[in-house]
Assembly symmetry: C2
Homo-oligomer: 534 residues x 2
């Protein structure tokens, strides 16, 4: 019902929904104030000073990207760390699925049935890295993670909407060429006059404006749109003259919400090119951290109690049916806030109150193994097809063209109601639904799909949700509160960023906490040192 | 003077100039006739039937992609081939430069000074493959050439134009966000009314239209543009609220011809995503052909005479100062037409007359070795920066992020006058010019560039030009004539395609000729067989 193709996205929805079911709403407008702000856009990597002989212990709750980042930096500075992880695996929502992997979804546990092959993997969680996410890229660089280009936008992919064109899929190339063409016509014909009224346009400006409209729409000299090679040729074009395709009426095109939604998806700051992703799977970042870390990581340990102490934190966890309690100077906690609020603790009530109000995204991804890369026969290599059905998207692999088989993303649904519909199905039903819906985009879809995995993040064990969802109001009133430490306890993770659901937020939240710890340690050290001299 | 950023491109210029100095002008508009044409968009790969015991010999003139394609297919069908190549190397305008390579430019011979390293290469000719170029991709698939995504469009790259903003570079991200924002405002405010007058829009259509305008421009609820996160934040955005950047006036933005030119470059059918390129260099396609071929390739042989015979072709060439003549049943000739017309021959006068009228593009590319990948510190990975200076473009490597060094494209000039300006310089002067101009885009450019290569294709030995340039008139009157054989002689190469400068045209021209040869052979075989039976 609330699929982006069923109702056009508002500006806010674009930010909130498309950006991975997370809230990116804490946006200030400061056109008039530009130059007065001081927060740097690009954070310098945190560089902790080595501890001078002192022994400091840090407990890190959760082995996702924020926890691994913290451990890596703390270790290098001489802190003694320990990571307590509730699940059977490290990585959190960086989860690349391959042959034999266990998917710990409550009610739908699966073993990944993909063939064992290097190219047959599925990034069920984080899948792309925008080029301006310099913090996570800092670790890709530092830890030697090979990257490949990733693309959201491929003109050869399809848009399919039951509401138009008899529900038949249309190449994005054709759709966009026609929309641009007719919008360009309108601009050239009418908006120019309006612009003169509205803007301080002189004759030369108006000429430039018309030039823009022509280039935007690929208009002919008389400012008409009569089709464009941009749509691809109906026939010919290489060894015979190219024949321009017939055009579709603008009103019909606009009837699909692609025009007001997905057509502009790759304009969103975090979805625009250049995007990248590690060659071979996103979890290569996790593996790269693990290669460096000596920190002990305890898996299958569920935290049951967090106690702030006058000079530290005590954490109790359950392992193989027994409670263990550990004490540390600091605790960095990236357990999802909605779970933290249910853990026994003496964390301040105001702190817990914010956690309880913090929402959590629901998101379903389905990965499908195809026995043939049939999309390549349709000139598709990488990119996203869009549909108004629940699956919302089909992704084609950006890597390993020409291999025998491939893994498609067969559904990506971030609208809570839709994700709940998938969650209510058995795993085989989800796969069947993904195939049935995908068949509207690729008529012979079913014959190629041989197996699949489904992940409803709102039911994944020890997470019960995807990115945190901050309401605009809560972000204003509660973000700074959760970002500040409670005693020696820090909440971290992408949940403590303005862009939940992105690794950049996870890294930067850890850096933020580490910088604060270092500041406190420096003060403590000074006091101590003064003490010694006294 | 005619740089795209100095004068906005017309629709025709977009097609003619941006598409690699080749002519893509033979475009028919057939909106009303759709369905009546029969030429398939996607050619099936040519599949020659094996010769049945007969000995047929083919002389192929030129070892570019069309010649290699022909040899590969003919060999497999049992034809006996020989390739005669004028230069010291195979590949033609598929030329990937690495440490030590000889660049045979007349008047500016160079040895490529790049360090010897797998990632330090420069595609001085063909550099990208659109995903719908299924013929060249057929060989990538068949011959096992690994591909990577390539991208023309990276929002983090710059546009720089001396005419605006004091000549300061602006991120494409910022430029495009503001243009879209203000154009979106105009659309929402005024074009809607015009649309109602112009189009059969009802109230619902109008609502959708406004939704489009809002999504296009990232407008606020009151249909205003007040900046956008699409431009990137002025500050914050991850661990602190994002501050929206100030906007620039539309008239100023339009003053740069980026708005009517390069901003729409990646809409051109052959420049739109998905684009790909072989991992490690475009000449991996050439190497893949060579691994399969047993055909003898004679390098350094200049053709001096082509004689059509009653039943074949005789070709004379000069090798090490001596003339050699070879006879064959057919000759496939991909020597540039403007050179063929100067070779002694008995080719029909009408045929030669078309060749003499066929233009040839002028194109300069400069490759620069950077000792540090400074662009990555500016969040740039892949893509193109645009400037109104002669260098026109700077390309950043799409591959091997984080390596110590990298090869930039430092100039790509396809406007004849500009390319001639580069051709008139010494090689060191060209590099100095590229660095000086690049400094307007990257202030510290000079300190990073340690060596370079320059290739003015109009002066490359044995080519004297880039892609063929067909006038619209000549394409109508002469293309079919050159495409047809003259006796047993076929002119092939991308010059005999509607998209000169693309490997797709080279392959398809060869397929076209091979299909015709097979047709003739089938007829001949039938006649012969009839003769035997008589």
């Amino acid at each position: 019902m609330n699929n982006y193709l069923k109702a056009p996205l508002t500006r806010r929805q674009c930010l909130n929904l498309l950006a991975k079911a997370g809230g990116s709403s804490a946006v200030l407008h400061a056109a008039g104030l530009f130059g007065l702000t001081t927060t740097p856009l690009k954070a310098s990597p945190v560089t902790l000073k080595p501890l001078a002989g002192q022994q400091r212990k840090i407990l890190i709750l959760g082995a996702g990207i924020s926890g691994l980042t913290a451990a890596y930096e703390l270790e290098r500075a001489g802190y003694s760390c320990r990571i307590i992880e509730a699940s059977h695996r490290v990585g959190g929502r960086v989860m690349t699925l391959r042959h034999g992997d266990f998917i710990d979804e409550l009610g739908a546990p699966q073993i990944c049935p993909f063939d064992a092959a290097p190219n047959l993997y599925f990034n069920a969680g984080a899948a792309r890295i925008p080029a301006h996410h310099s913090a996570i890229l800092h670790y890709c660089r530092t830890l030697g993670v090979d990257l490949q280009l990733f693309s959201n936008h491929n003109k050869n992919c399809y848009t399919q909407d039951d509401a138009v064109f008899g529900g038949k899929p249309l190449r994005i190339r054709e759709y966009e060429a026609d929309v641009r063409g007719f919008i360009g016509e309108l601009l050239a014909k009418s908006a120019g006059a309006a612009a003169t009224a509205e803007l301080p346009f002189n004759a030369e400006d108006m000429e430039k404006f018309i030039d823009f409209a022509k280039a935007y729409g690929d208009l002919t000299a008389d400012l008409r749109y009569r089709g464009s090679e941009r749509a691809g040729y109906a026939s010919g074009g290489i060894t015979a003259p190219g024949v321009i395709k017939p055009t579709r009426p603008l009103a019909d095109l606009l009837r699909s919400n692609f025009a007001a939604g997905a057509m502009h998806f790759a304009e969103i700051a975090d979805q625009a090119p250049a995007l990248m992703t590690p060659a071979g799977g996103m979890d290569n970042i996790v593996q790269a951290f693990l290669r460096q870390l000596t920190t002990d990581i305890q898996l299958n340990c569920q935290v049951t109690n967090i106690q702030l102490l006058p000079q530290g934190v005590a954490v109790t966890y359950l392992r193989q049916g027994e409670h263990h309690t550990e004490q540390a100077d600091y605790c960095l906690n990236c357990i999802p806030a909605q779970l933290v609020s249910g853990i026994e603790s003496n964390l301040p009530a105001t702190y817990l109150a914010v956690m309880r109000r913090l929402g959590r995204g629901k998101l379903t991804k389905i990965g499908l193994q195809a026995k043939q890369r049939f999309w390549e026969q349709e000139d598709i290599y990488s990119g996203i097809s869009w549909t108004n059905q629940d699956i919302t998207q089909i992704w084609y692999p950006h890597h390993d063209a020409f291999k025998a088989k491939g893994i498609l993303l067969g559904a990506y649904s971030w609208v809570p109601e839709i994700s709940d519909r998938f969650a209510a199905m058995t795993h085989p039903q989800r796969i069947a639904a993904a195939i049935a819906q995908g068949t509207k985009v690729h008529a012979n879809y079913a014959q190629y799909i041989e197996s699949g995995v489904s992940v409803c993040w709102q039911r994944m064990n020890h997470m019960l949700g995807c990115g945190a969802v901050w309401s605009e109001e809560l972000q204003k009133t509660g973000f700074a509160q959760l970002q500040a430490p409670a005693g020696n306890h820090y909440l971290i993770g992408d949940q403590l960023s303005m862009h939940p659901g992105w690794q950049e937020g996870a890294v930067r939240s850890a850096w933020h906490a580490l910088a604060d710890i270092e500041r406190r340690e420096a003060t403590r050290g000074k006091k101590h040192s003064t003490g010694v001299m006294a």
